[in-house]
């Protein structure tokens, strides 16, 4: 892994996302125990692992929803949440953090759409308030996004009037409205009824084909096999195994990866 850093810049010189020795504890529970991860631009990385292995926490450190206790996270060569000066990391002001976050889209397991706003208002809220786009322009863009996720006729609906799959597709459109360079998905289909999983995965697959850089935490092994460039397997706060889908899913080296795959496949 570290060899990639020393080789001359052939393809993308700096990885899009770079985690080095990331550690995080909640109380006395150590959730992340030194995680290194590189995601190159345009690459889709799928993170697998048993529940409690730290996958979601890892994802949340990348847009600073979770502060790290040690190590560093950087996106596009810029530290997330901190400014480095010498050997110290200074926590950034909220405004700075928010500005950097607009470059990163996050899709939650439970959608977290704003229930009192219409679908269109959900999507335009961030472009208007965080990026100061004119409302009309933001609405125009939002309609295009709704069309892209197959919900062009739902702009005036409220989230509760939609199915889970439709809500998650709106949530994806909402994340895309900031035109982020990186998309993070935290178990995007885990809260959905089985028959609705497909429609959401289709949207994510389209985005992957379009060359968006993504990190997806999921339990959908089939999706990982089909879409991922890299599959990462986590267990007990560490990355245990990393490779192409064929390597990790079909010929896992590590005992724990094998044990996990035998349970979910």
């Amino acid at each position: 892994m570290s060899a990639a850093l020393t080789t001359p810049p052939a393809a993308p010189a700096v990885p899009k996302v770079e985690l080095r020795g990331v550690r995080k504890s909640f109380g006395s529970t150590e959730v992340l125990r030194g995680v290194d991860l590189d995601v190159a631009a345009g690459e889709v990385t799928v993170v697998l692992g048993p529940s409690g292995s730290g996958k979601s926490t890892l994802l949340r450190t990348i847009n600073h929803l979770e502060k790290v206790d040690g190590g560093s996270v950087s996106v596009d060569g810029t530290l997330v949440g901190y400014r480095r000066s010498g050997n110290k990391l200074y926590e950034l002001r909220e405004r700075e953090i928010l500005r950097r976050r607009t470059r990163i889209g996050f899709v939650f397991q439970n959608f977290h759409l704003f229930p009192h706003l219409t679908v269109l208002e959900n999507i335009t809220e961030a472009p208007v308030s965080a990026l100061r786009r004119p409302r009309r322009e933001a609405e125009e863009a939002a309609r295009k996004l709704l069309d892209r996720v197959g919900l062009a006729d739902k702009e005036t609906a409220y989230p509760k009037q939609l199915s889970g799959g439709q809500q998650q597709r709106v949530a994806i459109a909402r994340a895309l409205a900031l035109e982020p360079g990186l998309l993070l998905f935290d178990e995007p289909t885990s809260a959905l009824d089985p028959e609705l999983v497909g429609e959401v995965l289709d949207v994510i697959r389209d985005l992957a084909d379009g060359g968006t850089t993504m990190i997806v935490v999921t339990h959908e092994i089939g999706f990982a096999r089909e879409v991922a460039d890299t599959v990462v397997f986590m267990d007990e706060g560490r990355i245990v195994e990393r490779g192409t889908p064929a390597e990790v899913l079909d010929n896992p080296v590590h005992e724990r990866t094998r044990a996990f795959l035998s349970k979910v496949l």
């Binding site: 607009t102 996050f106 939650f108 704003f114 229930p115 308030s129 965080a130 409220y158 989230p159 909402r174």
Partner: protein, 298 residues
């Protein structure tokens, strides 16, 4: 005659106990009879009619006196004072309450403790005691000034002139109200799913905008019923101010019956005004709640 082959039928011609069979679409449902319910309705109706009859026929109500004073100028002016006290008490009380609520929700232990202390103190002191304190403020601080804390003052005011009876009353009501409003607002904010704030933060929405646009509209759903309760009880609670000889509704009514001796009809005047205005408030509440219920139904 074979015993085993006979089908177990009841009386001849009776239909089987299922909805199926010929005539299924003619089946009608007959509700069960509830005779005791009718008895209860009758008994309640008799009591109500008796009460109504008493209101009309008992000369003690003195409806002519009621009519004479109900819309008299002195009473209308008093109603206006009551409304002013309620309005200012509510606006100032809730403004301070919102500040206190966010102090209690802040990350700073000091701000949390101060807000907690405020709520603790003002909920513990009876409103009437507090009002009398404010009324006697000039005794404690003869002069109020704006300037450098513990240093020289730039502007000075005479406390008696600044804190007249009316301002003392508004101040007392508002400070009392703020303690309750703080808890109501805090409860409302806590009732909003944490994921909402997280999603808004992940989208880079600025902090104040997050509160105003995402959290408060959702918090309003649980704030409103409680807030309406508080406003109604403040509205009626303004009658306490009568101890400070402020010409609000209840004080004015007392003045009139002190002069005329017509106690019951004048109490009725106050009662009907309180009921009417509370009803108006409930109507407003209904529409405001409907506004904030947007998106809550499927």
């Amino acid at each position: 005659m074979t015993l085993t082959s006979d089908p177990p039928v009841g009386k001849t011609g009776e239909r089987p106990e299922t909805g199926a069979g010929p005539g299924a679409d003619e089946l009608t449902v007959v509700a069960v009879r509830r005779p005791w319910r009718w008895a209860a309705v009758a008994a309640t109706a008799v009591v109500l009619v008796q009460f109504g009859h008493g209101l009309v026929t008992n000369p003690g109500w003195e409806w002519d006196v009621f009519a004479q004073y109900f819309a008299s100028e002195a009473i209308l002016r008093a109603v206006w004072v009551t409304l002013q006290l309620t309005f200012h008490g509510t606006v100032l009380g809730f403004a301070l309450g919102v500040v206190l609520a966010f102090m209690r929700l802040s990350a700073s232990p000091f701000l949390r403790a101060v807000a907690f202390g405020y709520v603790w103190a003002f909920r513990s002191i009876p409103l009437i005691v507090q009002l009398l304190f404010w009324f006697n403020l000039a005794y404690l601080y003869g002069e109020l000034s704006i300037g450098i804390p513990f240093g020289p003052g730039f502007f000075s005011f005479d406390t008696v002139g600044l804190v007249g009876a009316m301002s003392a009353a508004v101040l007392g009501l508002a400070l009392h109200q703020a303690a309750y409003a703080a808890e109501i607002v805090r409860g409302g904010v806590l009732s909003v799913d944490g994921g909402q704030l997280e999603a808004a933060a992940a989208l880079g929405i600025p902090r104040l905008r997050r509160l105003r646009r995402i959290v408060l509209p959702q918090a309003m759903r649980s704030i409103l019923p409680n807030a309406a309760n508080e406003i109604v009880s403040l509205f009626k609670g303004t009658s306490i101010v009568s101890v400070m000889a402020i010409g609000e509704l209840f004080y004015q009514v007392q003045v009139v019956y002190g002069r005329t001796g017509r106690v019951v009809p004048l109490l009725m005047v106050a009662t009907v005004w309180y009921v009417l205005l509370t009803t108006a408030l409930s109507v407003v509440q209904h529409y405001v709640e409907r506004h904030y219920a947007k998106g809550s139904t499927r």
